[in-house]
C-alpha cells in the first residue's frame, strides 16, 4: 500500500509527500523552512507500517522515546550519530524563526496605500494652486463665496487627514496570502476617481486656461466631498461591516483538543483566520508538547503482543491484512491499560499537588525575608546598618531558597522548557518592585498561561499556514472548514451560522402576581 507516515511530533521539517522526503537534505538546518511545501497547501497524510523506520534520524522525541520500538524497526534511532536532543531542537527552531529575513512584502500594501492617499490629499491643493501659479493675472477675482469655500475646503481636508491617520495609518498586523479584496477595491476606486478628476481638470481648466476661479474652487471642493464619502465607504467596508456577529467559529487545536468558540461577523476566510489567530494568542493555553503522550508504560503494553507471520507461499505483502489482524487481536485481548492509566493519572496528580505545596511554602517563606524600605526609614539608626538593595539584588537574594522547589515543580508539570532561571529571576524582580504577594508571583507558574505570555518580542512574526479547500478570499458560510497550520500543531476551524432568534413579547401586569394555597387534595388510603 502506498502509504507511509511521519508522526511528526517534533519534526520541524514537516513535509508531506514521500518524494520530497527523499530529496530533503538531512544536515541542512538553516534552509528557509517549508515555505514551498506550505504554499502548496495539500493535505496528504501518510500512514507508515512498522517495517520502515518511523522516526527518522533527526526528528527524535527526546526523552519520551520508547525503547520497545526496537522489535520491528531496522534503525534504532537512539544511537544514531545524527540524533539531537529535545532541547537542542527547540533551540534550533527558535533560531530559525528569528533568522527569517524581514520580508519587504509586508510593507508593499501600506506603502502603496500611503502614496495613493497622499496623492489624493494633495490634489485639491494642486487644483487651487496651479491656476494661481500659471495664469494669475487672467483670473477673475472671486470674493466672499470663495473665502467660504476655502475655509470649508481646509476643514474638510483636515478632517480627512485626521481620520486617515486614525483609521488607516496603523502598522499592519498580518500579511494575507491573497489580496485583501475590499482594500484593493477601495484603492482602485480612489485611484480612478482622482485620475478622472485630473483628466477633466487637465482638459477643461489647464488647456483653455479657465478664468473662472470660483468654478475651479468649487471643483476642488467637490473632489474633497467625494473623497470624504469614499472614506466613509472605506470605514464601513473595512471596519464596521464585520462587527455584527453572524457566525460562530469553533477552533480546536489538533494536538490536545483545546477548543474555544468565537462569534464573528461577515469576513472572508483569510480575515477570519487573522481574527482567530489574534484571539488564539490570548485565550488558548500554551502548547506544551511534553504533556501530550500517554506514559510509555501504558502504550508499550499494546505493542508487545504477538507477531503475525504469513505462511502463504505467494507473499503478496498484504500489510493491511497484517495490521488489521494485529489490531483485531489486540482488541480482543483483555486489556487493562485503562486501569493503569487511571492509577497513573491519580499518581501524577498527587505528585503535582505535593510539589505545588512545597513550592508555595518555600515561596511564602522566601518573601518574608525581605521588606520594602520606606523613605522615612532611610536614615535609620547606625546600630542596625542594613544593606540596602535594589530589586535585582533582592530578587537574587531570595531566589536561592525557593530555587530547588521551583525547579522540581516545573519539572513535574513539564514546564521547564518555558521558564529559564533568568526569566524566573526577572519575574521575581518585577513582583517585588510592584509589591506583589507570593501568590501573585506564583500565578505565572501554577497555571499554563496563554501563548502570549511566552512570546519573545521579535519583529519577525509567526508563520502560520492557512489550509483550505475554498479560495481564501471567499466569504464565510455555513459548513466551511479551514485549518491554520503551524510546524507541530494546527488549529481546525469550523463555521456555523448563528441561529436566527425569534423574540416574542409577553406583558405581565405587576398587579397580577397573586397566590393561593393549593387545593384540597384527597387521597384514598
Amino acid at each position: 500500500m502506498d502509504n507511509e507516515s511521519q508522526y511528526s511530533g517534533y519534526s520541524y521539517k514537516s513535509s508531506h509527500s514521500r518524494s520530497s522526503r527523499k530529496h530533503r537534505d538531512r544536515r541542512d538546518r538553516h534552509r528557509s523552512k517549508s515555505r514551498d511545501s506550505s504554499s502548496r497547501g495539500d493535505k496528504s497524510v501518510t500512514i507508515q507500517t512498522p517495517g520502515e523506520p518511523l522516526l527518522d534520524a533527526e526528528s527524535t522525541r527526546g526523552d519520551d522515546r520508547d525503547d520497545n520500538w526496537g522489535e520491528t524497526t531496522t534503525v534504532v534511532t537512539g544511537t544514531s550519530e545524527h540524533s539531537i536532543s529535545n532541547e537542542d531542537l527547540t533551540r534550533v527552531t527558535k533560531d530559525l524563526e528569528e533568522s527569517t529575513p524581514l520580508e519587504c512584502k509586508r510593507f508593499v500594501g501600506p506603502a502603496l496605500g500611503g502614496c495613493l492617499s497622499f496623492f489624493a490629499l494633495v490634489t485639491p491643493l494642486a487644483f487651487l494652486i496651479l491656476p494661481q501659479v500659471l495664469w494669475r493675472d487672467a483670473l477673475e477675482p472671486c470674493g466672499t463665496p470663495c473665502e467660504g469655500l476655502y475655509v470649508s475646503l481646509a476643514f474638510k481636508l483636515l478632517v480627512l487627514l485626521i481620520s486617515s491617520w486614525a483609521l488607516f495609518l496603523r502598522p499592519p498586523r498580518a500579511t494575507l496570502p491573497r489580496f485583501f479584496v475590499f482594500r484593493c477595491l477601495l484603492m482602485v476606486l480612489v485611484f480612478l476617481f482622482v485620475a478622472s478628476y485630473w483628466l477633466f481638470y487637465g482638459v477643461r481648466v489647464l488647456e483653455p486656461r479657465e478664468r473662472d476661479y470660483r468654478g475651479i474652487v468649487e471643483y476642488a471642493a467637490s473632489l474633497v466631498d467625494a473623497l470624504l464619502f469614499i472614506q466613509y465607504l472605506a470605514l464601513v467596508l473595512l471596519e464596521v461591516r464585520h462587527l455584527q456577529p453572524a457566525f460562530c467559529l469553533k477552533v480546536v487545536r489538533s494536538t490536545d483538543g483545546a477548543s474555544k468558540f468565537y462569534n464573528v461577523g461577515h469576513l472572508s476566510i483569510q480575515r477570519a483566520a487573522v481574527w482567530v489567530l489574534d484571539r488564539y494568542y490570548n485565550d488558548f493555553p500554551v502548547y506544551n508538547p511534553a504533556l501530550l503522550n500517554l506514559p510509555k508504560s501504558i502504550l508499550s503494553k499494546k505493542m508487545t503482543g504477538f507477531k503475525v507471520y504469513s505462511l502463504d507461499e505467494n507473499t503478496t505483502n498484504n500489510s493491511t491484512g497484517q495490521s488489521r489482524a494485529m489490531i483485531a487481536a489486540a482488541a480482543r485481548r483483555r486489556d487493562n491499560s485503562h486501569n493503569e492509566y487511571y492509577y497513573e493519572e491519580a499518581e501524577m496528580d498527587r505528585r503535582v499537588r505535593k510539589r505545588k505545596a512545597r513550592l508555595v511554602v518555600a515561596v511564602e517563606e522566601a518573601f518574608t525575608h525581605i521588606k520594602r524600605l520606606h523613605e522615612d526609614e532611610v536614615a535609620s539608626s547606625p546600630k542596625h546598618p542594613r544593606e540596602v538593595m535594589d530589586p535585582r539584588e533582592a530578587a537574587q537574594a531570595i531566589f536561592a531558597p525557593m530555587a530547588r522547589a521551583m525547579q522540581k515543580y516545573l519539572r513535574t508539570t513539564r514546564q521547564q522548557a518555558f521558564h529559564s532561571m533568568e526569566s524566573i529571576l526577572t519575574h521575581l524582580q518585577f513582583c517585588i518592585t510592584h509589591n506583589m504577594t507570593p501568590k501573585a508571583f506564583l500565578e505565572r507558574y501554577l497555571t499554563p498561561g496563554p501563548t502570549m505570555q511566552y512570546q519573545q518580542q521579535n519583529g519577525r512574526g509567526r508563520q502560520w499556514t492557512l489550509v483550505s479547500e475554498e479560495p481564501v478570499t471567499s466569504a464565510l458560510r455555513q459548513g466551511l472548514v479551514f485549518s491554520l497550520r503551524r510546524l507541530d500543531f494546527s488549529l481546525v476551524v469550523t463555521v456555523t451560522p448563528l441561529p436566527f432568534l425569534r423574540l416574542g413579547e409577553e406583558f405581565i401586569d405587576p398587579k397580577s402576581h397573586k397566590f393561593v394555597m393549593r387545593l384540597q387534595s384527597e387521597t384514598s388510603v
Binding site: 394555597m517 393549593r518 384540597q520 384527597e522 387521597t523 384514598s524 388510603v525
Partner: protein, 127 residues
C-alpha cells in the same frame, strides 16, 4: 374544634380499629382523607372552624374495612397508631396510614356528634 396555639387540645375521641384489606400488592383501608398543614383549610366541607388544618375523612368506600369498623365521613383523625395527625402535612398523613408493615391501624377520631352526645349525657344528672 378550634385550637388555641399554646394551649393543649382537648377533644372527645372515639377509638376505631381498622384491619387493612389486602388487594393484590396493596393494603387498603377503604376511605379517603383530605386536609393537612400544607393544604387550604377553607375548602374543607367537614370542618367547623375553617382554619382547622387537620386530617378529615372525606369519603368512605361502602363495604370496606373502614366502613365495617365504624368510621364515618367527616371525622377528624387525631391519632393513628399513636402518631399525631393534627399537625401533619397531607403526605405525611397518607404515609402514616399506609405503612406496609402494619396490618392494623388504630385511629382516634373525633366528630361533632360525639361532643354533643357527651354534653347531653352530662346535662342529664345521673339517677
Amino acid at each position: 374544634m378550634a385550637f388555641i396555639p399554646g394551649q393543649p387540645v382537648t377533644a372527645v375521641v372515639q377509638r376505631i380499629e381498622i384491619q387493612k384489606l389486602r388487594q393484590g400488592d396493596n393494603l387498603i383501608l377503604g376511605f379517603s382523607i383530605g386536609g393537612g398543614i400544607d393544604q387550604d383549610p377553607g375548602q374543607n366541607p367537614f370542618s367547623e372552624d375553617k382554619t382547622d388544618k387537620g386530617i378529615y375523612v372525606t369519603r368512605i368506600t361502602p363495604g370496606g374495612p373502614a366502613d365495617a369498623a365504624g368510621l364515618m365521613m367527616g371525622d377528624k383523625i387525631m391519632q393513628v397508631n399513636g402518631w399525631d395527625m393534627t399537625m401533619v402535612t397531607h403526605d405525611q398523613a397518607r404515609r402514616t396510614l399506609t405503612k406496609k408493615k402494619e396490618d392494623v391501624v388504630r385511629l382516634l377520631v373525633t366528630r361533632k356528634s360525639l361532643e354533643e352526645a357527651v354534653k347531653q349525657s352530662m346535662s342529664y344528672p345521673r339517677q
